[in-house]
């Protein structure tokens, strides 16, 4: 592998490929192996074990956990809940982010102030956002129900009604994503050559046409990126649910990660929880692969 050069005086000069350079990788490799690579394999290994009752020892269980999982209604429900939650959250947060980005993509006095305001959710920590939304959703004195009462709509039990809670949590989580999506999509918009839009305008295209025929297609790489990031983060949402509903009411917001958390750290069934984590991992991987493929076909158009 070592490339050698002949020096001016005919001696061979060794360049680079020396094993000494591997030292540069040691710190990163040590942490990656300990906290990512080893545990990734270990998760599969753990998923084949079960805990012996009372003793705390682990027993070989083969594919037993997966067989149990297959019959486990709670787990199947949690996967469906995660998917619905993702389908609610991602379009809301990308739609909101896109709306914000389009409005911010102009040079008018004071636009910087609006940028700060519309990007602001990015700076709001998860727990603060959840506390704020819990207050907004308060069934009696919450501002949302109060606003609805002004237009004659009865009080909604946002976080207490099993039919509504998942949507309410999705709205709160989508709100938090709007800031980051607006930032990314505005950067994408700013990357679109001004001349293209100008040329279309001179050709008499109306703003709606310009947006759907020029801006949106050129924005697809950014939209794809935000949707991949959005889907993965929605599929793994935990904090906001833990704070807003604790998986309730009646399991309505019991997403997959919440289930894994409960199984592992409340029931201490590490083997079974690991099998659930493996299934979730496969679903996330499948999503990324599909989105990757889609992205390629769209790019070639």
């Amino acid at each position: 592998m070592a490339t050698t050069l002949t020096g001016r005086d005919g001696t061979r000069v060794r360049t680079a490929t020396s094993f000494g350079t591997l030292w540069f990788l040691v710190p990163a490799a040590a942490f990656l192996v300990t906290f990512t690579i080893y545990p990734a394999f270990n998760a599969f290994w753990l998923s084949l074990q079960t805990e012996a009752p009372f003793s705390g020892n682990t027993l070989w269980n083969g594919l037993g956990n997966y067989v149990d999982l297959f019959k486990d209604k709670d787990f199947a429900n949690s996967l469906v809940t995660s998917l619905v939650f993702t389908l609610l959250t991602v379009p809301l947060s990308i739609g909101g982010g896109l709306l914000a980005a389009v409005m911010l993509h102009r040079n008018i006095p004071g636009i910087r102030v609006y940028r700060v305001l519309l990007f602001l959710p990015v700076a709001v920590p998860t727990a603060t956002a959840a506390v704020a939304w819990r207050w907004l959703y308060h069934p009696v004195v919450g501002q949302i129900n109060y606003a609805l009462s002004l237009v004659g709509i009865d009080k909604v039990q946002w976080l207490q009604d099993p039919n509504i809670a998942l949507f309410a949590v999705a709205l709160a989580v989508a709100w938090q994503g709007i800031g980051l999506n607006a930032i990314l999509l505005l950067a994408g918009l700013q990357g679109i050559p001004e001349e293209l839009v100008e040329a279309a305008r001179l050709d008499g295209a109306n703003p709606v046409h310009i947006f759907t025929k020029i801006t949106l297609p050129l924005l697809t790489p950014t939209l794809f990126f935000t949707s991949i990031v959005g889907v993965i983060s929605a599929l793994t949402t935990f904090g906001p649910i833990h704070i807003l509903t604790q998986g309730g009411p009646a399991g309505a917001t019991q997403v997959a990660v919440y289930r894994i958390y409960t199984e592992a750290f409340i029931n201490f069934r590490f083997g079974y929880a690991s099998a659930q984590a493996v299934v979730l991992f496969i679903i996330i991987l499948a999503f990324s692969i599909v989105q990757n493929r889609l992205e390629r076909t769209v790019h070639y158009q």
């Binding site: 591997l22 942490f31 409005m103 979730l280």
Partner: protein, 289 residues
């Protein structure tokens, strides 16, 4: 909306239509901004309401009398400043560690003739596909075996290296022109010296972007700090605020609101002051990731 055409007679009508466009634009922007920041404004307002006003119906947008009693109460009932200190130290530690491990590895991948360089790099990229949720349980077992529960070690160590940082920096380091390194080599600079004196000054934006992304995501961590901290002393702000909510919501909602605002302040202030750097860092990390 814009009625710009090339015909001259339209010149006169353009001004009112431009005015109208401005009015519409500012109105929509203001309305949308108001909706977006409303949850935070309402929270802040609640944090300044005396307890008699908190559960008042109809709810008022602003307090009739402003009070700081909720802030005093919140700081008395929970060690919120300790939580923030924990979060700050953990986030700084993780950020510093990531910068060190990622820049060393990225420099090696970008500049050095490592043995099996491509295979190793693919290995690093592969770890990017491993979601944190898969490694959660094994990592929990690891840190509890090392007796790191309720310790900064558990909060910091697992995050000291990441594929994303290595990838981001490597892409950036590769763009540095060869001439800079040639000059350094003629001066007899070692690899480490090249990293320090050539790469670091030139790659500052990428390093800042990685630092920002790492800091923010560590600051916002929830599930991991929840499972590796048992005692109040070691809680981070996110988890601490959640326990504070459970503890006080029924009796002192104002305290909870004040606590949430206290937890919000550090990142909010940093964002408002450094908005441009935030935007640059996040879009750089985003577009390259």
């Amino acid at each position: 909306m814009s009625s710009q055409t090339l015909e001259k007679p339209q010149f006169k009508t353009r001004k009112p239509s431009k005015m109208l466009e401005y009015v519409v634009t500012y109105t929509i922007l203001t309305l949308f901004s108001a909706i977006i920041i409303a949850p935070i404004l309402i929270l802040v307002s609640a944090s300044f309401k005396p307890s008699s006003e908190i559960f008042e119906y109809p709810p008022k947008f602003l307090p009739s009398t402003w009070t700081l009693e909720n802030y005093a109460g919140a700081l008395e009932k929970a060690p919120l400043l300790r939580y923030l200190l924990n979060t700050l130290l953990v986030a700084l530690g993780v950020t510093f560690g990531q910068l060190v491990t990622s820049s060393l590895a990225a420099f090696a991948f970008a500049r050095l003739n490592l043995p099996a360089r491509n295979a190793l790099f693919m290995g690093v990229i592969a770890t990017y596909m491993v979601p944190w949720e898969l490694t959660l349980i094994p990592n929990y077992l690891t840190v509890s075996n090392f007796k790191l529960i309720d310790n900064y070690g558990a909060l910091v160590l697992p995050f000291l290296a990441g594929a994303f940082g290595i990838f981001l920096l490597r892409q950036n380091f590769k763009q540095i022109p060869e001439e800079f390194f040639d000059a350094a080599k003629i001066d007899g600079a070692s690899n480490l010296q090249q990293l320090w004196y050539v790469v670091f000054p030139l790659a500052r934006p990428a390093l800042a972007a990685l630092a920002l992304l790492t800091f923010l995501s560590t600051w916002n961590q929830y599930l991991w700090p929840l499972i590796v901290t048992n005692s109040e002393t070691w809680r981070t702000a996110q988890v601490g605020l959640r326990f504070f909510l459970v503890d006080q919501e029924g009796t002192n909602y104002g305290f909870v609101a004040a606590g949430a605002v206290i937890v919000l302040l550090p990142t909010l202030i940093a964002f408002v002051v450094l908005e441009r750097s935030f935007v640059r860092g996040l879009s750089m990390g985003g577009l390259k990731g």
